[in-house]
Symmetry: C2
Subunit: 272 residues, 2 copies
C-alpha cells in the first residue's frame, strides 16, 4: 500500500501550493492531483453544492487507487471534510486544522487574522477551530472573494492585484494581529503582495504547506510512507477545464517545465 | 476520554522542553510528566536497559489514565518506541520522526547535522529516518555526551558550557550544514550557546517542540483533543530523584513559580 499515490483535490490551481511542499518534503511519494477549474470559484457556492462537486473528485481519485486523500481546498474542507471522512477507509486530511495549529504555534501575542473565501468565512470553521484549542485567542476573520479569480487568471503579480490586496486587507491595519492565516490554498501566490502590504512583522501562515506536515505524520503513523526508493516518484495532474492555463500557472509555480495536465469530465468519469 | 491527561516521560528534565511547548500550544490539555533523574544519563546505557527503565515509566503513566503517551526522550525513542507501540492501545509518539520532518522542511541545501546522546548516535535512528524520506540528503551525525550532565547540573549557561559546546560542535565547521537537529530534549537549554557558536545561518531544530505538532495532529485525528473547556488545565510532575534540582530547573524553564515535583520509586510503584 505504501507504493500507492497520495490524492490531492482543489477547486483549481490553488491546491498546487500544497503539492509544491509535498514534492519538496516527500520526494519519494507519488501524487495525483485534480482541480475543478470548470466550476470554480467554489467560495460563493452553497455548501451542499461544494459537497457534491468535491465528492465527484473523491470518486475520481479513488479510481487512481490512492492511499491517502488531501482536500487541498479550504472551502471544500469546511463544507465536506466531515462528510467524506467516515465514507473512506483511507486517511483523509483537510487544510483547516493544519493552518489552525501553525497559527497557534506562531503567534506571540495571541492575536490572529484569517482571510478566506466567502464559503469558508461563513462556515466559521477557522474561528471555531482556533477558539476550541485556545479560548484566549483574539481572532479577526475576513472574506477575500476577489483573490481566487486574480490567481486563476494569472494576474497575481499585477498592479490590479496590489490594489485589491490593499483594499481587502485594510481592516487588519486596525488590529494588532501578529499572524495571518492564508485560509485558501490559492492565496500563497499573492503572498509577496500580502506581506508587502502588512509588513514583515506579520507572520503569514500557508495552510497548505502546513498540511504536508500532517500528511507526513499520518503516513508515518499508519506505516504508509513510501520509504527510500530508487524509483523516481511520479506526479499526475488533471483539470476539468481546458488545461492551457493550468499548465502555465502550474509549470511556473512548481518549477516543472514539462507539466501537462489532462482534461477530465467528472460527471462522465464517475458513472463509467 | 478527551478529558484524560497526556503522559510525557524522559530520563530527566529534558522532556520539559516538550512540555513547555505543550503548555503553550495545547493550553486545555492536562499533563503528567515523569523524569527518571535517579538513573540518568540514559545515553551511555545499553538499549536493553533503556527499554526496561522506559517501560517502568510507561506503567507508572498508564496508572494515571493517560490518553496518549509521549516519549519525550530521543534515547528512549530510539531504543524503545517500536517495542512499546504495539503493547498499548493509546497513540504513542516519539521525538525522532518529528525532528526528522522539521529538518527536511527547514533545509534549503539538503545538508543536515544531528547532535545526540551516544545511545541515539549508535542507533543511527535519525540518519536512517532522514535517508528513508529523502535519499539525497547529506547528513552529519555527532554524539555530544557531555551536554546532558551540564543541563542536569544547572550549568547550561556557564563558561564551561560554552567551552564544551565549542569543542563538541567543531566538526560541523568543516561542513556546509544549514540545519542542525538538537537530537536530545535536553539540548534546547543549551540553544543560545549552540546558536552563538554555529552562527545565525544554521537553523536549529528543537525535536521536542516539533513533537507537539505531531501530538496535536493525532489528538485531532483520533478525536482525543480536550476542546475549549472553562476548567483550568493541570500539570503534574514526578521524578525518581530528590526533587529540589528538578523544581529549580523546571520552574525557570517553564516559568511556573510554584512547580513542585513529587518523588516516586518506580520499582515499588509498578509492583503495587
Amino acid at each position: 500500500m505504501a507504493n500507492q499515490p497520495i490524492g490531492f483535490l482543489d477547486s483549481g490551481v490553488g491546491g498546487l501550493t500544497v503539492v509544491k511542499e509535498a514534492l519538496r518534503q516527500l520526494p519519494h511519494e507519488d501524487i495525483v492531483f485534480i482541480g475543478d477549474q470548470a466550476r470554480l470559484p467554489y467560495g460563493p457556492r452553497p455548501a451542499s453544492q461544494v459537497q457534491e462537486f468535491t465528492w465527484q473528485m473523491v470518486q475520481f481519485l479513488l479510481k487512481k487507487d490512492i492511499k491517502m486523500l488531501v482536500i487541498a481546498c479550504n472551502t471544500a474542507t469546511a463544507a465536506a471534510l466531515e462528510m467524506i471522512k467516515p465514507k473512506l477507509d483511507i486517511p483523509v486530511v483537510g487544510v483547516i486544522l493544519p493552518g489552525t495549529r501553525a497559527a497557534i504555534k506562531a503567534t506571540q501575542n495571541n492575536q490572529i487574522g484569517i482571510i478566506s473565501t466567502e464559503g469558508t468565512y461563513k462556515s466559521q470553521a477557522y474561528v471555531k477551530a482556533l477558539h476550541d484549542r485556545n479560548a484566549q485567542l483574539k481572532v479577526t476573520s475576513l472574506a477575500a472573494p476577489k483573490f481566487v479569480p486574480l490567481v486563476e487568471s494569472n494576474e497575481f503579480d499585477t498592479p490590479l492585484a496590489r490594489k485589491v490586496v490593499a483594499e481587502t486587507l485594510a481592516p487588519f491595519k486596525q488590529t494588532a494581529i501578529d499572524t495571518l492565516i492564508l485560509g485558501c490554498t490559492h492565496y500563497p501566490l499573492l503572498r509577496p503582495l500580502i506581506q508587502e502590504y502588512l509588513g514583515d512583522d506579520v507572520r503569514l501562515i500557508d495552510s497548505g504547506a502546513e498540511t504536508v506536515s500532517e500528511v507526513s505524520v499520518l503516513l508515518d503513523y499508519f506505516k504508509l510512507a513510501n520509504l527510500n526508493t530508487d524509483r523516481l516518484a511520479t506526479a499526475e495532474f488533471y483539470t476539468t477545464a481546458a488545461p492551457e492555463m493550468f499548465d502555465l500557472i502550474g509549470s511556473q509555480w512548481l518549477g516543472l517545465n514539462d507539466l501537462k495536465a489532462q482534461q477530465v469530465h467528472l460527471e462522465k468519469e464517475i458513472t463509467d
